[in-house]
């Protein structure tokens, strides 16, 4: 297949972000364990409270301490749903951040950095891998670059540098607080960095202090120390860093917004949907959800008592899916959450749930495969596996959410689908979603409905779990229901659930189970199958977390007077052929956008629709797409200058 990749450090220097003073990206980086995430949480909170829309994204290595991680927080005065390729203001208290990200600072942007790093050579930064090192040297045309060299380079791009000696800053603080221990509190570099940034761009100081105290709420002494450091750094910045290229004063708040972290959509969705059993085996990026449910899964109910989800950490993922199914058989809404390797281990038992028509919801937080792959990086490469996982043929639903907000409501829908159609539902999420922190409209639990389908609360007369006839979905008893005894088996079975090898019963049971795929497409509302966000001659088809960057890209193009269509496919299996066909009506050029190498959804599309896909925009570096990447690719397509297969490469 024709294919082109746009790579190389220097082409990562991007066009300035949208022309709006309030589309601003702040980046902080540092070794893992040094508090990059806390700094980003603090910054996001200030910005959100100052009235901005926030979109923050974390990147980190599969490592506990020492390797580079960074957080880019984008903010705007209007809704944003993705990261930008460019950085407006960078904060670096270590050399690696400067080396790794200098080229993404936009023209006219700024950098606050630790001036003590000036003479550090890139070759001495042990965590800077040789591949990036080489590309950087080429970009800088220098085989032994230092921080200073890099800063000189960015200065050429009109980037304003604010050198601050973090050591001196600490010494100042130690002196002014009369506390010599402060001198060595390098641990506070993160808070100092964020506070310098806040001071520079004049975010409200009170918000900073509140946020710092919030983050360290558990330990009073630490909170005090950090609050002092924050105040001090803020003041230094606002007093000494003049000629700031940007200021971000508080603006009017959009009502009813919340600042939400990636996994909370599915976590809270499960609580609201009535999931009361979750088994899991630790895996990145899925286990945050389970840990959250274990810590926060007890909630007041309508009788003044409390209900709680029981969370069981199992010995492996085979046990996780087995326990989930066992629990679901008792009539309890049950779930598990995993990522690719864990999901692979669940393939066999998924088929058991399928043949026994057990309603379960499996939340699949995708990351980059194959195998262990890039375990802390993003990917959308488990789709076809999710659709076809498990030997033999059995019904399932594969459903994908496009953003965190959707994932809350979708989680509830997934439980309803599983109960109504009595099948396993695989809810596709991913690492990009899970490592996002963003502002979005508050989840509204009153919009959640619960439909348990044909779950019985009593049985009269003879009961047959797999009764044939009707719409093929039989009334469902559960373990412990009075007079509701049934049998289940992984073997083909008769209506009661006992093994049979009769060819005629076999054929009827196969049809009973698989015919419901058509039923689903008939009954599930169109809007839950696929969504048209815009129509146009050029129309994107995509699924899952590409939604955010696509919508932002479309908005950017709209400002240039260009309209591109976008159909987001939410139900991936059974594939909503008719619905998609309808929504695509009028589209002439179809563009498939996915974060994988083989255009997996495109294959499902080709299987089901007789419409050729004209272009692919794919990314599989482990990094999520930015809005500019998509915008630029679309422009190339529209201008006829794009290859059929465009591979995106942005992101460190």
């Amino acid at each position: 297949m024709e294919s082109v990749t746009s790579v190389n450090v220097h082409c990562l220097i991007l066009q300035p972000v949208v022309d709006s003073v309030t589309d601003f990206t702040w980046l902080i980086g540092g070794p893992q364990g040094s508090g990059v995430e806390s700094a980003a949480v603090i910054f996001s909170q200030i910005c959100a409270k100052a009235g901005y829309f926030v979109f923050g994204k974390r990147e980190f290595h599969s490592n506990i301490k020492g390797e580079h991680s960074y957080f880019a927080v984008r903010l705007s005065d209007k809704m944003i749903r993705s990261s930008s390729s460019g950085v407006s203001l960078m904060v670096s208290y270590d050399a690696e951040t400067i080396f790794r990200h200098y080229s993404t600072i936009t023209k006219g942007g700024a950098i606050i950095y630790d001036s003590d790093l000036n003479h550090i050579k890139a070759e001495d930064v042990s965590t800077l891998d040789k591949y990036y090192f080489k590309r950087m040297c080429a970009d800088l045309d220098n085989d032994h670059p230092t921080v200073e060299d890099v800063l000189r380079k960015v200065a050429d791009n009109d980037v304003v540098a604010y050198p601050v000696s973090f050591k001196e800053l600490l010494a100042d603080m130690a002196e002014s607080h009369n506390n010599p221990r402060l001198r060595v509190m390098k641990r506070m570099y993160n808070v100092m960095g964020v506070s310098l940034a806040a001071g520079l761009i004049q975010l409200p100081k009170e918000l900073l202090i509140d946020a710092v105290r919030g983050v360290f709420a558990k330990k009073r002494v630490i909170a005090d120390l950090n609050a002092d450091a924050a105040t001090h750094s803020y003041n230094v910045a606002s007093n000494t860093m003049t000629s700031t290229p940007f200021t971000l004063h508080a603006i009017e708040k959009t009502p009813n917004l919340m600042l939400v972290q990636g996994h909370l959509g599915t976590s809270l969705g499960k609580l609201a949907a009535g999931c009361r059993f979750q088994s899991y085996y630790p895996i990145t990026p899925a286990s945050d959800e389970s840990v959250y449910l274990e810590a926060n899964g007890t909630l007041p109910n309508d009788t003044g008592q409390s209900d709680a989800v029981v969370v069981v950490q199992t010995e492996d993922e085979i046990s996780a899916i087995g326990m989930m199914i066992g629990a679901a058989l008792t009539g309890v809404r049950s779930s598990t959450s995993t990522s690719g390797p864990g999901f692979s281990l669940m393939a066999e038992a998924l088929g058991w749930a399928g043949i026994n028509e057990v309603p379960v919801v499996l939340t699949l937080y995708q990351r980059s495969g194959p195998s262990t792959g890039l375990p802390t990086r993003h990917g959308q490469d488990d789709l076809l596996f999710a659709v076809f996982a498990g030997h033999g043929e059995f019904p399932r639903i594969v459903y994908a959410s496009g953003d965190i907000e959707e994932s809350f409501y979708d989680t509830c829908s997934c439980f309803n689908y599983s109960d109504v159609y009595q099948l396993p539902v695989i809810h596709m999420m991913d690492k990009f979603l899970s490592s996002t922190t963003m502002t979005c409209p508050a989840f509204d639990p009153s919009k959640v409905t619960i439909n348990r389908g044909k779950l019985l609360d009593g049985v009269e007369g003879e009961y047959k779990r797999f009764q044939l006839g009707g719409d093929g979905i039989s009334p469902r008893s559960y373990l412990g229901l009075k007079d509701g005894i049934f049998w289940n088996t992984g073997d083909e079975s008769d209506e009661v659930g006992h093994i049979t090898e009769d060819p005629v019963v076999r054929q009827m049971m196969m049809d009973k189970r698989l015919d419901r795929l058509d039923l689903i497409l008939q009954q599930v509302p169109d809007a839950e199958q696929a969504v048209s966000h815009a129509t146009g001659e050029y129309t994107i088809i995509s699924w899952g977390s590409t939604k955010g960057p696509i919508l932002d890209a479309l908005e950017m193009l709209q400002q240039e007077g260009i309209t591109v269509g976008f159909v987001q496919i939410k139900m991936l299996h059974p594939f909503p052929t008719e619905c998609v066909q309808r929504l695509l009506n009028g589209a002439r050029v179809i563009i498939d956008v996915e974060s994988n190498q083989t255009a997996q959804m495109g294959k499902l599309f080709a299987q089901n629709l007789n419409i050729p896909i004209n272009h692919y925009i794919l990314k599989y570096t482990g990094r999520a797409m930015t809005c500019e990447e998509i915008r630029d690719s679309l422009l190339d397509i529209i201008h006829g200058t794009s290859p059929k297969r465009r591979i995106l490469m942005h992101g460190a």
Partner: protein
């Protein structure tokens, strides 16, 4: 009206081989349930895959025939979600100690209140007689092209080391004793493991009924001369109080006994410890009302709307 053994039988045609030891086990299980008066629809039997896996279809309670090697996860999930159920898991030696050994070890760490019965026939019955993990080194039952080159697993020892709080063995042709073991296993609070010596007349031509009867031994005295009962020797398997030394003593005597085989095979209870908290008690430290309000008793919706209130959590994330 008291339930009779017949009430626990289904009409399903039983296709085990004539003389199979499995018959004794399913009979003893049905008798035990009847004698204990456990309600049929409050009981769930789970099985693995193998000849033994068919058991659930013959017992008239909830019956879940799971996957090869996976009976323990399914059974434990159900019991944790609905602690009101009487849960019995059954399966083959290949199922539980071969492909399922990882779950076997892990279950010992939880002590969920259910019973696990392994049908120990030394072979993979349903796949035509290959070596199971309990088959001894160098033995060659008739389906093996070559003698077995694997050492055997020690089910009793493994259960004890893995933390099971009730560990016992019975023989499928001594139904009275077997029944008593099953009843005690079910009554035990915590995970109980019962290994049943189960002759497979079709494939295991070594550990046959005659072998257990000691027909090859000089001094064969009884119907099952190779087998003796621990309780007949004054052996006390019970951990009487929660002290480390008491536990260590009872554990190590059990482990030592578990090594016996050959002409003197112990049956009965090797180890029993109710001084350890069950999983359900442990869950309570996190969820105090778990016993009265476990997942299975929670009614999650009213008029199609959730009954729990997550608004406090949502509130806490609102930008204020």
């Amino acid at each position: 009206m008291a339930l009779k053994v017949a009430d626990y039988k289904t009409g399903v045609h039983n296709d085990w081989c004539p003389g199979c030891g499995d018959f004794g086990i399913v009979n003893a299980l049905q008798m035990s349930l009847a004698e204990m008066g456990i309600e049929r629809d409050r009981t769930a039997i789970f099985s693995g895959v193998g000849c033994s896996g068919k058991t659930v279809h013959f017992v008239n309670t909830y019956g879940i025939h799971t996957l090869h090697g996976r009976v323990l996860p399914f059974a434990q999930g159900a019991k944790v979600a609905n602690p009101d159920l009487t849960v019995v898991a059954v399966g083959g030696d290949g199922d539980g100690l071969g492909i399922g050994a990882g779950h076997f070890v892990a279950a010992g760490r939880r002590d969920i209140d259910f019973t696990y019965i392994v049908f120990d026939n030394g072979v993979y019955g349903l796949t035509k007689g290959q070596a199971s993990p309990t088959l001894k080194l160098w033995e060659q039952p008739k389906s093996l092209p070559k003698p077995n080159i694997n050492y055997n697993v020690n089910p009793i020892g493994l259960a004890i080391t893995s933390g099971y709080t009730f560990v016992a063995r019975a023989y499928s042709y001594d139904i009275r004793h077997l029944k008593s073991m099953i009843m005690q296993a079910i009554a035990h609070k915590g995970t109980s493991f019962l290994a049943v010596l189960q002759p497979c007349p079709t494939y295991n031509d070594i550990n046959t009924r005659d072998w257990y009867a000691g027909l090859d031994m000089e001094d064969a005295v009884s119907r099952h001369s190779r087998i003796y009962k621990l309780e007949d020797t004054g052996y006390d398997p019970v951990v009487h109080y929660a002290s480390e030394s008491e536990m260590d003593e009872k554990l190590s005597q059990a482990l030592i006994r578990s090594l016996d085989w050959g002409d003197k095979i112990p049956t009965g209870i090797f180890y029993k410890n109710e001084t350890i908290s069950t999983f359900s008690q442990r869950i309570q430290t996190n969820i105090p009302n778990y016993p009265e309000n476990p997942p299975s008793r929670q009614s999650i919706s009213k008029d199609g709307k959730p009954t729990v209130d997550i608004s406090n959590i949502v509130q806490s994330m609102l930008i204020s």
